[in-house]
Symmetry: C2
Subunit: 368 residues, 2 copies
């Protein structure tokens, strides 16, 4: 299918520009004096040769003209005929979340490479919107869905399975469904190892939303590892929260109120919550990286740019997105697929390192 698109580029650009009229198979056929089905057959046989679809001579004439006229098949017509749209639906909590935005970039890239286009919609983590957006996507006849906002124990995934809608999860996992995610348990473990080895013994976790596997797994990875290392984490030291700065600020307040002795380190399951925590600590006169360590998760672009650079677990967001597309492709091909967990890396910075060399890691850029 890609060979058609090329027609609109490069040297032929001027010619395709001049024609604002769209050229159809029939146009090509008429101009060459052959039947439209012949043109179609040739354009669908391998790029070189005719693969038994036509004589080499005819094939060449057809292909030349298609290129010259900037022919690109109408996806509506193709879709109607073949029953496949080459459209993928992507649902995320919100695209203004850097993490999802970058995963989506990976999705878009990988999808384009496979000849798919992608829709993306925001659900704001609202179950009703999740259903509505899903239905809008299906009404558009997408071939499959990539779901980035799955809630643990949501009925939606079961319903989709019943409806036989092909889908995979990205970013968040749910047991029983294929997903492409960061190895969040490992991420939590890395933080535990780091803080333990820095000598911390009293720590607390800003745990995020209970419905998100990212929050649950990162927290579990941290807590289990901490106990394995011999540490203790009382119940009041794990505070579920919203994912944003306000959530981090609030959770920090709760922790400082309820935990005695006061923790010397905080693990926030994402960077925004960590930044909120830093603000709350600062406004109480606690110096981050001195009185108290803070570690975030995702290593979003700003972590390394903060005045006190934030230690954070870097997850391979772009690759996670790309992997999701590959998984979905295999699902569409009828294969059975297993979930994929990509490895994270801990980036230690000033916010949690008294002695370490700082790892300066540049982040994505802004460009409005």
């Amino acid at each position: 299918m890609m060979q058609f698109l090329e027609c609109r580029q490069g040297n032929e650009l001027n010619e395709s520009l001049s024609g604002s009229v769209t050229v159809t198979l029939k146009d090509l056929a008429k101009e060459l004096g052959v039947h439209p089905s012949t043109v179609s057959r040739i354009l669908h046989s391998g790029t070189e040769g005719a693969r038994g679809a036509a004589s080499v001579a005819t094939a060449e004439r057809v292909r030349d003209l298609a290129r010259k006229r900037g022919y690109s098949p109408d996806p509506q017509a193709t879709g109607l005929r073949t029953g496949r749209t080459h459209l993928l639906g992507v649902i995320v909590p919100r695209l203004s979340d850097l993490v999802l935005a970058i995963m989506y970039e990976g999705i878009e890239e990988a999808a384009a490479e496979l000849g798919y286009s992608t829709f993306v919609m925001n659900s704001r983590d609202n179950p009703e919107e999740q259903r509505r957006k899903t239905d809008t996507m299906l009404a558009r006849r997408v071939d499959g869905l990539i779901i980035g906002d799955a809630h643990l124990n949501s009925g939606l995934l079961r319903d989709l399975t019943v409806r036989k809608v092909p889908f995979v999860l990205v970013n968040r996992s749910v047991p029983g469904y294929p997903s492409a995610t960061c190895d969040d348990v490992l991420g939590g473990q890395l933080v535990a190892d780091h803080l333990w080895s820095e000598g911390h013994r009293d720590v607390a976790v800003i745990a995020g939303e209970r419905y998100a596997s990212t929050a649950v797994d990162r927290t579990a990875g941290f807590v289990d590892r901490w106990r394995f290392l011999g540490g203790q984490i009382p119940p009041e030291a794990v505070v579920w929260s919203h994912f944003d700065t306000a959530g981090g600020r609030e959770a920090t307040g709760t922790i400082l109120t309820n935990c005695t002795p006061r923790p010397t380190a905080l693990f926030a399951v994402n960077d925004f919550a960590a930044i909120g925590a830093m603000g709350a600590l600062r406004s109480r006169g606690l110096s981050v990286g001195h009185h108290i360590a803070v570690v975030g998760f995702n290593d979003t672009s700003l972590a390394s740019e903060l005045p006190i650079p934030l230690s954070s677990v870097r997850s391979p967001m772009l690759d996670i997105g790309r992997t999701a597309v590959q998984l979905l492709k295999r699902v569409l091909d009828g294969e059975h697929v297993e979930s994929v967990k990509l490895k994270p890396v801990l980036c230690v910075r000033e916010s949690s390192a008294w002695t370490e060399t700082l790892a300066a890691v540049p982040g994505p850029s802004e460009s409005d």
Copy 2:
């Protein structure tokens, strides 16, 4: 068209769930013993009554069954027949830029309200990718384009006009084409007024990319206003730069090296550059908000959350996106449209206020 979608929601959900088979017009017609064209006509007449399309009784039977079966028309077929896909293409520099992500949320919302779905692609501000993505969108037969990455003096817009592709710009403007943007000149003026009234007389501008109207207009608004107020800005005090933190850091270095006396205030045309500037200043021992003031632009979510909260010009990003859709809709309806500039507001915070009350403004949230 919206009435069809409703069929998949609410009380009928269970029934539409049970059928993973897609129901067609013909199915409905057969079940009711009428002709498909009759069904089509009824479903296209106003929601209540039959508007002369059919008897009220038939109309009711048809609509009831459509709802019951969860009928939703195949957009491929409709598009093929009517020549309009109700698809909009959106091109942005990168979705991981918060500013564009939020504008896109506005676009998606407003488009959905009008019955359109949107594709979005990243061009990374690369002219070649801009053309390629545009062509991919057109190959998908979008009804129109919303361009968020326009470069001043790029040939692409002219080519699209020649090709009679309906489009509007968003985020960045280019003279001669309809756009929905922030009033960036006004934004620059607001910053000039603020810094002037704070008593600054030696200032510098981190001006952004020359190809982007946002950068050019914000800079011009600031510089012109500054001179109008009686201030001076030597050429070396305006440094063009990349939009990211690295760009801001670099530009700050240049400014500190070349400008004497050292400026007491820096205006960066976007928040990321401002944050880079803050880092560069800090690493030279200059305290932001004390030795030197910094003001950014866009008021992205982190501006208010930084340890030293960043003054920033807040632009109505969501509304800008929504406005772009409305403009494009009117273009598609054959109307002539004028560009729209939405008003920004300056949020003064610690980074530039010695005496002001701080305006705490919460930002968007993260939710992975």
